[in-house]
Homo-oligomer: 478 residues x 3
């Protein structure tokens, strides 16, 4: 239900309900926004302030008292003050004993302090129940009700009753509380709003590098070489022709890099004879951002599709085709039809379409709401089986594109092979290793290792019945 009408929420209260009083320490922007919202939702608000004067900025209906007076009026106190100013709370330890303190603060940098603000608050006021909440919500969103982005409020705390009460408030404000467990989670919750796509950084930089590298590679072959060798101005190729080489190369390479860490991990496990030793950190990180790598690859593949489909409406292509036709017509000469060329051209296109289609399917199943409806067996089927099929189709698409020219020396320009030949290296390596890994003899060993067997382990404990995890728990294929 879209809470689009929360603004219109009745200011008047249902008389049958007793108004719950919430105290807010600090009268800054976020504190006031929160107060306004809570007043609208039927709470009564008391501000705690060092200098308790009624300010015109504060929402109507809210009281302003001194810290200790305000604290006495409510069991729940929202600390809308920066961490650096938490000091004054130590003087209020007595008053705050047993009360629920809600820490809503954020920092300016990730991991700015050794401990989270909420844990620091819990140390300052040992008798109180500290709950972390609301830090992921923006003041503007609270005011406007336009919570398009994220209605989720992460809540954590050690006292489950205090946490429950805060979650009830969150719910009453039309937001979605998410219980994140104990106060230990506060650090992560405080870092969360400061992150800017942390898992996308490696895929982004990698693909930027690939694009720049292959762009200049193609510029050398397609623009500089013809200019040097004939004074031909082919700069216009940089708008479509060259991007349409760079994008498919980046897509294929990134797609192969999605599956490469899996085969490396399998080789490592086979070599070590156990799955209980940690992978190197770079491999771990690589494995965790495979989804992002795949989605970036899908983006490039989509661009390649669009760039390819507009080919016939480009001026250059139309001009070339027209002039070729005119030349032949003038010479009264017709090309004979070549069935093999028709086969090559059509199967190249068909492989590309099918590969792209499967790729889009993979992308759709990685949408959070879709992947939540599939179980592990289904997820693995899609991401592993369909994924490899996509890689095979796209690799074959690139190979058939090369067709008869593939690896022929005449396509070398200044000793540089065509760009698509370079793009094929990693996919072919991945597919060859994967092919070796699924050979029955190797696959059997690998499966045993992934079920927990160890090559150098002592014989299993006598008589112990291990839970050999069936089906699901087995699915450790990477």
């Amino acid at each position: 239900m879209e809470k689009t009408s929360t603004d219109a929420f009745p200011f008047t209260m249902n008389s049958s309900e007793k108004q719950e009083t919430v105290c807010i320490f600090g009268t800054g922007d976020f504190g006031r926004s929160l107060a306004l919202k809570m007043l609208q939702c039927g709470y009564s608000i008391v501000f705690g302030s060092r200098n308790p004067q009624k300010s015109s900025l504060l929402p109507n209906g809210a009281e302003v008292l001194s810290y200790s007076e305000a604290a006495r009026k409510s069991d729940i106190i929202i600390i809308a003050v920066h961490r650096e100013h938490y000091g004054f709370l130590t003087e209020l330890t007595e008053v705050l004993k047993g009360k629920t303190l809600v820490d809503i603060s954020n920092n300016l940098k990730i991991n700015q302090y050794p401990e989270s603000n909420a844990e620091y608050l819990a140390q300052l006021v040992p008798g109180a129940h500290v709950v972390k909440a609301f830090n992921t919500i923006s003041a503007w969103a609270l005011q406007s009700g336009a919570l398009d982005a994220n209605r989720q409020v992460f809540v954590c705390g050690n006292d489950s009753k205090a946490k429950q009460r805060v979650m009830d408030i969150v719910r009453t404000l039309g937001l979605t509380p998410l219980d994140q467990g104990s106060l230990m989670a506060a650090k992560e919750i405080e870092n969360y709003p400061l992150q800017l796509f942390p898992m996308w950084k490696f895929p982004f930089y990698l693909s930027a590098f690939l694009c720049v590298f292959f762009f200049f590679y193609c510029v050398i072959r397609d623009v500089i070489y013809p200019y040097v060798n004939g004074g031909k101005d082919s700069t216009f190729r940089m708008a479509i022709s060259i991007p349409n080489r760079v994008f498919p190369i980046a897509a294929l390479t990134l797609l192969a890099l999605v599956y490469l860490p899996g085969v490396i991990a399998a080789i490592l496990q086979l070599y070590r004879g156990t799955k209980y030793r940690r992978f190197p950190d770079w491999l771990d990180h690589w494995m965790l951002c495979r989804k992002q790598l795949g989605l970036v690859a899908l983006g490039f593949a989509s661009l390649h599709v669009l760039y390819t489909l507009v080919i016939p409406i480009r001026y250059y292509v139309r001009w070339t085709m027209k002039n070729r036709t005119i030349t032949q017509a003038t010479a009264k000469r017709e090309d004979p039809f070549s069935t093999s060329t028709a086969w090559l051209s059509d199967s190249y296109v068909a492989l590309g379409i099918l590969g792209f289609f499967l790729f889009v399917l993979l992308g759709i199943t990685s949408l959070p709401s879709v992947s939540n409806t599939v179980n592990w067996r289904e997820f693995r089927f899609v991401q592993s089986k369909l994924g490899y099929l996509t890689l095979i189709l796209c690799t074959a698409h690139t190979m058939v594109y090369g067709g008869k020219r593939f690896l022929s020396p005449s396509s070398l320009i200044w000793y540089l092979p065509s760009a698509y030949v370079i793009a094929l290296i990693i996919p072919c390596i991945v597919l060859v290793i994967k092919f070796v890994l699924v050979l029955p003899c190797i696959d059997k060993t690998l499966t045993r290792i992934r079920q927990g067997w160890e090559r150098n382990a002592k014989p299993t404990l006598n008589g112990e019945r291990y839970l050999k995890q069936s089906s699901v728990h087995l699915d450790s294929e990477l």
Copy 2:
């Protein structure tokens, strides 16, 4: 987990569990459907009826008693009766004291009554705990188990224990309860199932107006003018050529209208010198339906892409190109290649593709499940930074399309400029104002205002430490 097999749910009960009895007042269609479903899920059902005769319509296994007898058998009573007939419940006040009454009713119109049905029920039977639930579920969906649409059951109520018990029942029936807070939320919950895309109305009518207007504008220029000036029948252009002008114009205009309210709001805030005065209602509403405007624009952009890609397979285009070639071949004349035309044509197409690609990205991030996985900083980055980049690319695409003809008087027909020139007005205004707003001197003032600073405010209270909201809480950019 898809509850596809709920139909096959065991009718027999696990004997170790005691059957909970639920009472249903009213034997209408929805009451019976609910009863059947609850019987299947292991509840025992007692119908309360004015005329307690066993009817063949009622599901097997359910008892039928008088209202007061039925009420005595259970703590939970589902009121499956229309609001107009709630009157008889006043006679049962004694029996219903302390019981949980579940109001499942809907109205025929939005805001039909001054108070919600559930609040009315609570007034009629003051001693009972009224819980609103189940009104968003259809009887047919309950019977068939085909709950493709929405398994969500909004629940609200003032007594948290009563609410909890109802939510447990909801869960047992395989549905998802969503706690909406106190009974005050009942009105919204009752209005919910009566809405038909309320936020889409303005974008829909606006885009319908744009389409009709530009369609006739183009018909005048492309069909009526050639007919009047040469008797040429160009009516076939109304199928593809003219829609392919109307759609991109509508897309670009709507996209600009997504960003226009933001810059208007910024100007208002700068002018007023505070962010604490409400925007006019029209601006508020406009801001709240920006997402819908953007998605409609994306729809038009997608249509434009498809209409553009089919150009080369249209009979008209093929005929034109063939005849032009034949004419030239007969005259034995070849066009010289124009590098500048190739640049214009290719960069026009490339800008369009990149703009559309970013537009689709924006659309994907507005999917609820995707936007729930990003934080405010990431959401703002995508919707604001990428959004403006999309607008810039699409505006440039339209400008380069005009190319050399842009604003040339020869393209006027009956004093009407080309349609794309009109389409550029709003985007250019938005981009120019936005450019002014991001100039450092203006941006600084705006940022201070959005952090809560007021131009005409009294000096801040002496010694008060405001919570100057860092990063997230700042992100009030519109």
Copy 3:
């Protein structure tokens, strides 16, 4: 919040919290993975084993005791042992009295045993509170933290306190608990991870059959016939031309099959005069997999779009067009422009684009996260109204494609009509029946039946006020 950093979770505990002890029976792979994860999240772990020797495989920090000693140390005991070995638990009945037993086991086959493992466990140890959980999570996912697929842990159990405690543990591990109700749900939860797209089987086999049938049908007409009648080698058509006939036919047929069960059900209800008799099982199953049928149809439609858009870049098409132009140029003959052909060609293409556009809209609204944001009225509007509009557009697209050749005898080859003619049969039947059903006289009767009226029912009970469900509860249209 992506829990990507759970691996880095602090091993050290916040001293203010008391460590909760959890006991795990069985030291297999999944038990050890779970133990490691729980140790990382601050639990203290005791393994129960028949042969309590410290093994190097067990995670550091975990104790190993005999079953009964281990059980005495904790209130929560996770049974990480196969169902076949549950026998030893009967000896521990005394120790386990009142404790929470968490059944995490899976089977190898769906419905392998008459009762679920969890219910069997509850019978073996009658004094304990059995909770089913964790069976949908893979050991590898627990270790790596790469829970891309599914963080959902289905939990069920008869004792709500025990269930609540297990759900708290699930939450602390960074997973999402989903309360599935009483232990009766265990069977479904145990079957869940063994399923491989159960609802997709029928659509998959049906579409495979359609594709194979129409592929060979088209091969006969387009490859074998020209070869037999002229020795022409058209085999290359099997790569693109023939798939581009098969895919749209499969798409249109499957789309019609989405709406066929609805009209069959309506006819059945009209014939029977009641909605209270169950539909035959085949109809029920068909209705439940309509969404999947529609999505498969959308897949084929997308392939058709891609295969159509690449037409102008195929060698065969370019060669044909070039040679036709050369022939005409040599003969110095120009085709006259045919407005009617232009209309046919453009409206055929425009209908296809609009139909596909609506089809994609339908697909997007069937995404779980999108369909959760619409209410029943909106969902029905989209799936029924827009759905039929899509069917009408796509059928019209196919008919206009036929154009002048439609049903002309000259298009018969070996008495076989064109494939698209066959594809039109089911859509036309569905549209004709639907047209009859929405005639006012029939629609009125149907609506009354769907509101619960029965043709042969006894007169309604005197004075009873039925809940005539308004708007939402009415929406029983199929």
